[in-house]
């Protein structure tokens, strides 16, 4: 339902975009510190992200959804989304591949969100 412009779709897309930017930041940081002595690479935990999304998506109660999204947002500021990578050293190929993949993901999100907004536009225009 397109009940309001503040619907859960927008919130979830925002979360996903933020996760994508956070992931890009972590990749950039790993690459920048490739030659820093004793540096251990980090990554954005995919499991945490899925856990977070699954909770939001399985609830249909609006107020509960809002608090779950607020909780997910708090994960960002506390840095809980960032976990140490299993690798001991930065692997450049892996990081650069991650950058490329994340970029495509980000594009897909924006394209998808654009389609959602286009639907809204159609609804507002009365299907004209």
């Amino acid at each position: 339902m397109l009940d309001s412009t503040g619907s859960v779709t927008s919130d979830i897309v925002k979360l996903a975009l933020d996760t994508s930017v956070l992931r890009q930041t972590v990749y950039a940081s790993n690459i920048a510190n490739t030659s820093s002595a004793g540096f251990k690479p980090s990554e954005v935990s995919f499991e945490r992200q899925m856990e977070m999304l699954a909770k939001v998506l399985t609830t249909s109660d609006d107020s509960q959804q809002a608090s779950l999204i607020a909780g997910a947002r708090a994960l960002f500021t506390s840095g809980a989304m960032i976990t140490p990578s299993a690798d001991e050293h930065v692997q450049l190929d892996k990081e650069v591949a991650g950058v490329a993949e994340n970029y495509v993901h980000y594009q897909a999100l924006i394209t998808g969100y654009g389609k959602y907004l286009a639907q809204l536009r159609t609804a507002i225009g009365g299907g004209q």
């Binding site: 975009l17 933020d18 994508s20 930017v21 956070l22 890009q24 930041t25 972590v26 990749y27 950039a28 940081s29 690459i31 920048a32 510190n33 490739t34 030659s35 820093s36 002595a37 004793g38 540096f39 980090s42 960002f76 500021t77 506390s78 840095g79 960032i82 450049l92 990081e95 650069v96 950058v99 490329a100 994340n102 970029y103 980000y106 594009q107 924006i110 394209t111 969100y113 654009g114 907004l117 286009a118």
Partner: protein, 147 residues
């Protein structure tokens, strides 16, 4: 989430790798310098870099206050390598000691060349990350646009 901090992080990585190339070039250029400013032979240098660590919000704020970007790389110090000079018997050399030995800087060309190659590869990877972030930032402007 600020995409801008990615630019800073990648730029810091590029700057560190550039310094590494600078220092390696300096070492190679001076591999036969028997007389430095202090009269001694040139000592090869090495760049030591570290990460500006900040995984939680509090230390991120502190890092920002210091003008540092959390997650960026920075040069800790540029140290003189603790290696003995390469002694070559050249009695006619103006810098020869009493035994006719000349102290040449112990520059390991193989290591320096490896540093050069590795630094330029990492520099390229930083450029890739930078460009991806730039494209992402540009793509954000398309949100809600007519397609």
């Amino acid at each position: 989430m600020a995409i801008n901090s990615i630019f800073g992080i990648s730029a810091s990585g590029m700057s560190v790798e550039m310094t590494r190339v600078d220092v390696a070039t300096r070492n190679i250029a001076n591999s036969h310098a028997t007389r430095g400013v202090d009269g001694k032979s040139y000592v090869p240098l090495k760049v030591v870099s570290t990460a500006i660590a900040a995984q939680n919000f509090q230390s991120q704020l502190a890092a920002f206050a210091n003008g540092e970007i959390p997650g960026a790389a920075k040069i800790q110090e540029i140290v003189e390598l603790n290696v003995a000079p390469r002694m070559v018997h050249e009695p006619g050399h103006p810098d020869a000691d009493a035994q006719g030995n000349v102290a040449y800087p112990n520059v390991d060309l193989l290591t320096e060349m490896l540093t050069l190659t590795e630094a330029s590869r990492v520099y390229e990877a930083n450029v890739q990350a930078f460009n991806a972030a730039k494209s992402m930032a540009m793509r954000t402007l398309d949100i809600g646009g007519h397609k």
